[in-house]
Symmetry: C2
Subunit: 161 residues, 2 copies
DNA sequence: ATAATTAAGTCAATATGACTGACCTAAATA
DNA sequence: TATTTAGGTCAGTCATATTGACTTAATTAT
């Protein structure tokens, strides 16, 4: 199987090379999140808090439903973490025109934290990406995009329209 | 800040575009792991089990210490998950020449599972990557590699020498 | 030969992030 | 008026991880 594969595939599509991609994704993603993790720890927050802060910062006045769609967790899971952020005044809640909905936005304090966390990740990406051609960078983004499942591709487009 | 950035940076290095990379990493990594997760669930295993199986499969006769270096978790964390895999005969333990060490390898049962899980991820990467040029694929891998912290780059090289 | 270090393991307590299931309220829509 | 939708809540559970303290056995250094 692997032998046949080695014969038929070009080098960069060999199973062995593909496995390296698996590992690169694992290592790079872990290191990508480790920077913010250290700051969050001091506030007794975790990665779940980061994700909420990120997406609320991304789309002001996002509703609970929209947030759940992006995060793909249950509302019970969201509840605890979100309430902490609201109680500690990183996020402020208001009522939508549809009075059943709630709209979430970052407070000034929340924006400050969001900025602090995002800056780490943005700078890391910038530092890395700077060395590459526009062609390579676009390829990188397109490959990542193609790895997303159809439904979530739509979600990605929605938050970026 | 962002305005200045927009003026000085080429489009593909704008903060807004960089933020898309943050999201692409989040969405793609989540979907990348979701396939194996479904199989693991049936066995009452989680992602932690997957990682152990993957790296034991990658490097036969890996020691506990080496495995901890790769996974970057505590031995107490490893213990519970690894013991499950050993008890359920996915992994077999033997003693090294240095009798303090233990060597881990996959049983036939473990190899079967490893293969099942890896195949999902390998095929996913292949499906995606097929559409791209060698140049793009190499760029993709290099960018991911550059996102890894120095120490972990060494670990990556070690398991791939 | 003894002391120090290393590899591995264990016990206990704790935190975080997630889940299911059941149930509730209020508002909007059919 | 009935149904659906948005959101919330209570309770219990599970998986993954942590810190800290301590043990055993084997290897290495003095």
């Amino acid at each position: 199987m692997t032998d046949l594969n080695s014969l038929l595939s070009p080098f960069f599509l060999n199973d062995k090379e593909i496995r390296k991609v698996i590992e690169l994704l694992f290592f790079s993603y872990r290191d990508f999140t480790s920077g913010p993790d250290k700051i969050l720890e001091k506030l007794n927050f975790g990665r779940a808090h980061h994700r909420i802060i990120y997406f609320v910062g991304k789309k002001n006045n996002i509703t609970i439903k929209e947030l759940l769609l992006v995060l793909q967790i249950t509302k019970q899971s969201l509840s605890r973490v979100l309430n902490q952020l609201v109680n500690e005044k990183f996020i402020i809640v208001s009522t939508g025109i549809d009075k059943r909905t709630k709209k979430l936005s970052l407070t000034e304090k929340g924006e400050k934290l969001e900025n602090q966390l995002s800056t780490i990740q943005i700078n890391k990406i910038k530092r890395v990406i700077n060395k590459y051609s526009e062609e390579n960078i676009n390829g990188f983004k397109e490959i990542l995009y193609d790895m997303i499942e159809t439904d979530n591709k739509k979600t990605f487009q929605q938050i970026n329209d």
